[in-house]
Symmetry: C2
Subunit: 106 residues, 2 copies
Amino acid sequence: MDAIFEALASTPRRKILAYLSEAELAAGQIAAKFEMTKPAVSKHLQILEHAGLVRKRREGQFLYYSLVSENLVNTLNGYLQEVCPVSRPLKCDQAKPRRGGGRADA
Amino acid sequence: MDAIFEALASTPRRKILAYLSEAELAAGQIAAKFEMTKPAVSKHLQILEHAGLVRKRREGQFLYYSLVSENLVNTLNGYLQEVCPVSRPLKCDQAKPRRGGGRADA
DNA sequence: CGGTTATTTAGATAATAAATTAATTAGAGA
DNA sequence: TCTCTAATTAATTTATTATCTAAATAACCG
């Protein structure tokens, strides 16, 4: 939980999550969307991975990152309920993130 | 939004929010629940206030802090929907936070 | 094997955040 | 007004985080 809130406390990291909510991306593709260097992005990815918010998968030379939405949804939702309880929990349409929208950053 | 996620990225601050979800408290009462000094707590409260997550009200010499749950709920919920959209939005039972539970910290 | 691409790890530095002590503002009450 | 309590602001120190350059690891291809 600590790790998750810490991970979310960064605009570039939230932006990465937004990108990954649209599609799985290789580290280099993610880095290309930012001004900073690859090592910097790599570190952000590491923090997101440590928080369990993304997962990586190697395919040849590439490392593909993808969103682990359950964790995000469960944690934030659980936290919300704690501070402001409500009857109906938010559930996520896990298996198929929508791919249509042109909006990518928060 | 930035301010809100930054505010939430701290265990003591989340703990303060948890306390305030149970009852309105004076700054001193909040500080008494932590190991750190009053100025330190005061700064945390300032950050929470700047994020719009708490509100303060003076009553004589005392400054009473209370939770602004709408902001928390709307922001986190809005963010969740962005990364993992779902049909039914989470609404908060604003006016009357439950007071029963003995649990106070996250 | 040697070269090229993809990505991360190491090491160093700069920018931010958190905590402390000391001093200040605000109000209550004799 | 003087003093006491409540709380914040100021100034400083310390710790953490973010970022960079350079080097290392991993995998492909000739």
